[in-house]
Symmetry: C2
């Protein structure tokens, strides 16, 4: 059966299973219509879609606290031209609730008095560099003094600073490739001494039989990750029709739509970047974000990625064509990375 047969639509996502990307994918693409397949890296998801071994791919794009996922930006820019046909066709927002996972130490678990006196008072310690530290949003459910090493993804560490600096100050951090990988490492801790803990998802605790030592350890309540759905080729109704209805681009509806465009400019021309951005303004495409990445052709030259939103422009190919034509005249090169229905404020499961 081919990957694009309606009965067996394959969705590649950034694994391993129990990753946040997995959760976003499960919520968007329901069985039995879709078959989900985990991939080892974001690049592997791009590869699966480019080679048509999957119809769609799901990758993390941006976190509301920590910013863009640079690796995804680099793959979209595609300096090596390995993914010429990849286009974005949808987005999924998902609340991220980090947990501290590990083992409960028998020697400390009933000794809450000592927990207090050991400096873990539950309020972040002011220092000269952080005179008004953020208060952690949650408390540990058990003593954490046995924890000597924490594993997580760098983005997750960045999202849990208040909790870590209050309850796990000075504890060694090991950055690994994903939050689910972190849980795997801790689950493999053979003597179960409890010296190792992971910041990972609630789902990972079940999958790896780990104890939840603390819930909701992220700094801000509203910690949302945005995922992109990618497909092969630009908006193409043959493929679009395989998507769940909520992601399909339909003409005429007054839905807000978004697009991502990459371009580079002649850095020697004064005002070149402002000129490029003016094109979007002129064509009523509101600029909602901008990122820059090194071009890797010349040092200190950049490729810019801009996200724009609008209504009428996306429904009228002529209007869009005009805007892109004008962009050609003020950039050294540009690439259309796809457009999709704005899903902001709509959770994955809805």
């Amino acid at each position: 059966m081919s990957a694009s047969s309606p009965a067996n639509i394959i969705i590649a996502y950034l694994g391993p299973p129990s990753s946040y990307t997995h959760q976003a994918t499960v919520d968007s693409f329901r069985a039995p219509k879709y078959t989900l397949r985990d991939e080892l890296s974001i690049r592997d998801v791009f590869d699966a879609v480019q080679s048509s071994s999957a119809s769609f791919g799901v990758v993390p794009f941006e976190n509301s606290s920590n910013g863009a996922v640079l690796h995804t930006l680099d793959l979209l820019i595609d300096r090596e031209e390995a993914f010429p046909d990849i286009h974005i066709c949808g987005e999924v927002f998902m609340d991220v609730q980090h947990c501290l996972l590990g083992y409960v130490s028998q020697s400390f678990s009933s000794d809450n008095k000592d927990l207090q006196s050991s400096g873990s008072s539950g309020s972040a310690t002011p220092t000269s560099s952080i005179p008004f530290p953020k208060e952690p949003r949650s408390k540990p459910m058990t003593d954490l003094r046995h924890v000597k090493r924490i594993y997580s993804h760098p983005q997750a560490f960045g999202q849990c600073e208040a909790f870590l600096s209050t309850y796990l100050k000075g504890v060694e951090r090991h950055e690994v490739s994903s939050t689910s990988k972190a849980a795997t490492i801790v689950a493999e801790d053979r003597d179960k001494s409890g010296a190792e803990a992971a910041i990972s998802s609630r789902l990972a605790a079940d999958v790896h039989h780990l104890a939840v030592l603390a819930k909701g350890v992220q700094d801000v309540e509203d910690n949302t990750t945005r995922f992109l759905i990618i497909q092969r080729g630009p908006v193409c109704h043959d493929i679009q029709n395989l998507l769940p209805e909520k992601f399909q681009m339909t003409n005429g509806f007054r839905l807000k739509k978004k697009a991502l465009i990459a371009f580079n400019i002649d850095h020697g021309t004064q005002g070149a970047l402002a000129n490029a951005l003016l094109v979007f303004k002129k064509h009523s495409l509101n600029l909602t974000s901008i990122n820059s990445r090194p071009s890797r052709i010349r040092p200190w030259h950049y490729i810019f990625l801009v996200e724009v939103e609008g209504e009428r422009e996306f429904d009228d190919p002529d209007l869009l064509h005009l805007a892109l034509q004008e962009l050609d005249t003020v950039t050294e090169g540009n690439k259309w990375l796809g457009c999709w229905v704005d899903r902001f404020g709509v959770n994955a499961g809805q």
Copy 2:
């Protein structure tokens, strides 16, 4: 003796000793006039300068292949208002030559034939996702089959993909806080089995008594990191005079100057970002780069950091004042992060 006494000017830099930041600092601030002090984190360098325990700080800002150092951007944005007085007053460019450091395995070292047959042919393997992989720029100086784990900073891993995917494909990677920390870990490998290796500086090999297993393992020849020098307070001649002459801001000279400005906008106003960038164009301040970071006040709202360059504008406080006044009218808030002499094309040691 106070930190600002000319005979004992303290420079805080991101350590540990033998880090690339250390190298950039040594080359710029020569003994006996300056006393260098290593700090554990970029935040600690900011803290030292804000609290006046150091006159200047040196921190990494951007790499020519890998882009901005997000942690430095976040500290400059200073959402917590912990560093209200920090301003940039200089920049240093430094070539980064990564080395693979570790131990030479006695059992493999003379067995080059096997090295060839084990798939490490010296050319990167084409895959469907990378049909034309970058060729590694250098070859290992010894067999690497005994290497089972590599330690380095995530940025350094990102800069050495061709070498790693050719000669150390599938070897476990451990991301640590700095390249010098990576060398420290490998040096502590007690049985010297050679299973651990680090991507670090040539200087770190000497400091930690490690063998250089390969030199220049980074993907591109031109791999340069830009460091910022920070001081307390905006351009202030009392402090500026303590800087080495090459970094001092002097009026009248036809030196190109740069400045960094952070601002946020009303995301609901169409064209708000383009309007803000137009102000710089109007005042002949050429935009050379732009980065965005989450505001962390509302999700999907950003703080933008723009770098501008010009000549006349920086020498005439009135012209600059006009530009900033106009920026006030089109942004929700903005922050001047300092200006400095453009040092592009001038190496640290010169």
